[in-house]
């Protein structure tokens, strides 16, 4: 489909979102709000140890406690055997999937679920947990990724062998995987370079921080069917995971997605659903489980801490001719960190002839990591974009000019081998360098004693975005409105951006489309709301369904006028008979459908990976002010320039950018999992796991650049994830500009900044 430039009627406008009134009045139902007659309440018993053998679990006393109806453990799973599952992101042993729901044999992190209880009230369930007896044999935990890679480290899994570039290793290890990307000849490149720069960087484990804890309600019916209501980023992936874990055919599992209070990737894996299902089967009643905030920190999927070493070879004119990276990511208790994504993104904005990237996926006694908004890329960009700043300073070149000189473009080959289609990276660099923020003067010092230092930093970032599969169906109502059924759970306004695309094609208003997020029985297979895919991929499906409706409406007009259908043209929702004077608009034709053939239902299913997913690039500018007496870093001004392809609903695109930047700022300055030597997270609350508040942030200025993605009729690119990639490095570079010292470890909290100031 050709990309259409020029004026759109609906695309680019800012209608009120269709679910907005429900959400501002408190009527919208999230998972924890779900009620049903006979509901039982569940609570989960979690390991106090970071690493231990489970010798015995005794549930007899708990079963006798008041109000308790059932207890479940790993023993209640169908035996996983050697089954392997492909849940879309890599192969995983079903045994490992089950073992993260309930520990089997060993607990591998503090917070690892061991058992769950269903009782007549949440309090009765909580009391019953205290009566479950678990005998542990504590083992030494390993909590640092480099320590875990040592041959002498305590091992989490007896049967883990390194997947070493495709070959299975023979030695027991904590290193699950070693991957390598190679392009050109880095050794030769470094030899030719005028100067070689090196740095080692460390990042800490951080959590997605969604305000809504995980929840799930399950009803196992006497007819053997299982229904689950939960807050999830993907009803179909919940169905797949649950049916895999419980060895059920998918046809017996129906997942109803409730509204969801944030996910950012962390609500793609299931945690509570299988337990709720097993408890429901045992009790014959619906069972609801809701996590508390401590459980969310300790028992779900934060993103890895990491150690990253980067080496860059540069010429005097600022051209980068060689780049090398070594990345070691904490996978948590089971293999599967996003180190491959970090490897793909680390030098992605640049055209570099010689690149070598090695990545290691390493297990440690921490929660199994889950995706967090551009998983792996923020860690990588912190390292590479900081080192690039050093190159710019040495070469005496403006940091944005350095990026411009090395910018990847259409036709550049990335280190993992992919050749870029039309991309907008250069446009973001140019827009940033021309932005008033970049040209504004920044007073270097302030405060009554000159104790406030100010500095400006920039950084770029990339996220590849995914396509995957989406299905929609749309029926035309007699009043000319369209009921659109889709399967992408709506975390940020996507039901509206999808509806807008359908409306644009049909020539009706956004308010004439009623979007509905259906459950797994009500819509065709639709992959997760994640990977910045929904407005792109489900939008594509909506566009195709709209064309399907249009074709049928042409048939109906032809029947209405008794003319051949190929004599009818349609433009902007008006159906015209070419040779006669007859014309009719969509609304009016809709009112006559019963006279000319009956209801019109359009449908489409799309494999969006085949269409040309557009990658996203961003360049950010930040001004910081550092109090050299306390180490506190204030963000004075933040500008985030991003190529968004085409902003369907600009307000929500701006919102994605602002939200991602805010998370990046928290990651840069304060957020981290603090562990004691025994492997206990000591700051598992919102008080001490310090996320940005309204007081910590200035206005974040999003600048939308539109370099259309040729793969989408309106030029849409995914936008949600790129914004979190540059902030840590941009802030590190700004801090360096302010105090002359470069921090190599996240978070750059007041203690670290003060130590850097004091030298």
């Amino acid at each position: 489909m050709a990309t259409r430039s020029g004026n759109y009627r609906v695309i680019g406008t800012r209608p009120i979102r269709h679910d907005g009134v429900d959400k501002v009045t408190g009527r919208a139902l999230y998972g924890a709000d779900f009620q049903m007659a006979g509901l039982l309440h569940g609570r989960t018993l979690r390991s106090p140890h970071a690493h231990a053998k489970i010798l015995r679990i005794g549930v007899e006393k708990a079963l006798r406690a008041p109000g308790v109806k059932a207890v479940v453990t790993a023993a209640d799973f169908p035996p996983p055997g050697d089954r392997i599952a492909d849940l879309g992101e890599g192969s995983v042993k079903v045994r490992d999937l089950c073992a993260n729901i309930f520990a089997s044999g060993k607990v591998l992190y503090r917070g690892h679920a061991v058992a769950a209880v269903a009782a007549t009230s949440p309090q009765a369930a909580a009391e019953a947990l205290k009566l479950i007896e678990v005998d542990y044999e504590a083992l030494p935990p390993v909590l640092d990724v480099l320590e875990a890679m040592q041959p002498s480290a305590p091992l989490l899994h007896d049967d883990l062998r390194t997947d070493e570039l495709g070959e299975r290793g023979t030695r027991p290890t904590n290193v699950a995987k070693h991957l390598r990307f190679e392009k050109g000849d880095v050794a030769a490149g470094f030899r030719r370079a005028d100067r070689v720069f090196e740095g080692e960087f460390r990042t800490a484990m951080v959590h997605q921080g969604y305000i809504e804890p995980h929840n799930a309600t399950a009803l196992w019916s006497p007819d053997g069917s299982l229904t689950i209501w939960c807050s999830t980023q993907g009803a179909f992936t919940v169905r797949e995971q649950v049916s895999t874990i419980l060895a059920l055919p998918v046809s017996r599992v129906r997942v109803v997605p409730m509204e969801i209070g944030g996910g950012f990737g962390g609500k793609i894996p299931v945690y509570l659903e299988p337990a709720a299902a097993l408890l429901s089967r045992k009790t014959g009643r619906p069972v609801k489980l809701v996590m508390d905030r401590t459980e969310v920190f300790e028992g779900t999927g934060p993103t890895p801490g990491s150690v990253i070493r980067v080496k860059i070879g540069a010429m005097k004119d600022g051209r980068i001719n060689a780049a090398e990276a070594w990345l070691a990511y904490e996978a948590g208790a089971f293999a599967g960190s996003p180190v491959p994504c970090g490897m793909m993104c680390i030098f992605a904005p640049y055209d570099i002839e010689n690149v070598a990237i090695d990545g290691y996926d390493v297990v440690v006694n921490k929660p199994k990591t889950a995706p967090y908004r551009a998983p792996g890329a923020t860690n990588a960009a912190f390292a590479s974009e900081t080192l690039l700043d050093e190159v710019a300073r040495w070469a005496g070149i403006d940091p944005l000019e350095l990026r411009r000189r090395n910018a990847a473009r259409e036709g550049t080959r990335r280190a993992d081998g992919i050749v870029y289609p039309r991309i907008g990276y250069l446009e973001t660099v140019e827009a940033a360098s021309e932005h008033p923020h970049y040209r504004a003067a920044l007073e270097p010092k302030g405060g009554r004693r000159g104790e406030l230092r100010r500095g400006r930093g920039v950084a770029s970032g990339f996220w590849f975005n995914v396509g995957l599969k989406s299905s929609v169906a749309a029926s035309v109502n007699p009043d000319g409105t369209v009921h659109l059924v889709e399967g992408s759970t709506d975390i940020g306004g996507t039901r509206t951006s999808i509806a807008m695309q359908l409306a644009e094609v049909l020539g009706i208003g956004a308010e004439d489309v009623q979007p509905h997020v259906a459950d797994t029985s009500g819509v065709g297979h639709t992959d997760v709301t994640g990977g910045s895919r929904v407005t792109f991929a489900t939008g594509l499906a909506a566009i195709e369904a709209a064309h399907d409706i249009e074709r049928q409406m042409v048939d109906r007009a032809a029947a209405l006028w008794s003319v051949p259908r190929d004599e009818i043209d349609v433009e902007d929702g008006v159906y015209r008979h070419r040779t006669g004077s007859k014309s009719i608009d969509f609304k009016e034709l809709a009112s006559k459908l019963s006279e000319c053939g009956g209801p019109v239902v359009g449908r489409a299913t799309v494999d969006a990976d085949q269409r040309g997913v557009g990658g996203g690039f961003a360049t950010h500018i930040v001004d910081v002010e550092i109090d050299t007496e306390t180490g506190k870093v204030a963000i004075l001004r933040y500008t985030a320039v991003q190529d968004v392809g085409k902003a369907v609903h600009p307000s929500y695109v701006e919102g994605q950018i602002q939200g991602g930047v805010a998370q990046g700022i928290g990651w840069a300055l304060n957020e981290e999992y603090l562990y004691d030597a025994a492997g206990r997270m000591t700051n598992a609350s919102f008080l001490d796991y310090r996320m940005p508040t309204a007081l910590d942030l200035p206005s974040i200025d999003p600048v939308l650049i539109e370099v259309p993605n040729p793969g989408h009729p309106f030029g849409v690119r995914g936008v949600g994830e790129v914004p979190i990639v540059p902030p840590c490095a941009a802030i590190a570079n700004a801090i360096h500009a302010a105090i002359g010292s470069r921090l190599h470890e996240l978070p750059m909290n007041p203690g670290r900044v003060l130590r850097a100031v004091l030298g």
Partner: protein, 68 residues
């Protein structure tokens, strides 16, 4: 490296014939899909085994990736 094939499946079979140690590594045991964790791009577009491959097409094997 250059291998013959009119579809991605034929390309994979040709690779496996040239390098027997790739057998069992690129594909599922039943040969119907790439193994979990592996993706393939034909001319920079992610593709399945049925994807036609042209005379000068470029095929890359990549880790299967996801977002958050």
């Amino acid at each position: 490296m250059t291998v013959p094939g009119r579809t991605l499946r034929e390309v994979v079979e040709a690779l496996e014939a040239l390098h027997p140690d790739l057998k069992g590594w690129l594909r599922e045991p039943d040969g119907e899909r790439l193994r979990p964790g592996l993706a393939a791009a034909v001319d920079n577009v992610l593709s399945g085994l049925q994807q036609p491959v042209a005379e000068a097409s470029e095929v890359q094997f990549l880790p299967a990736l996801r977002g958050g």
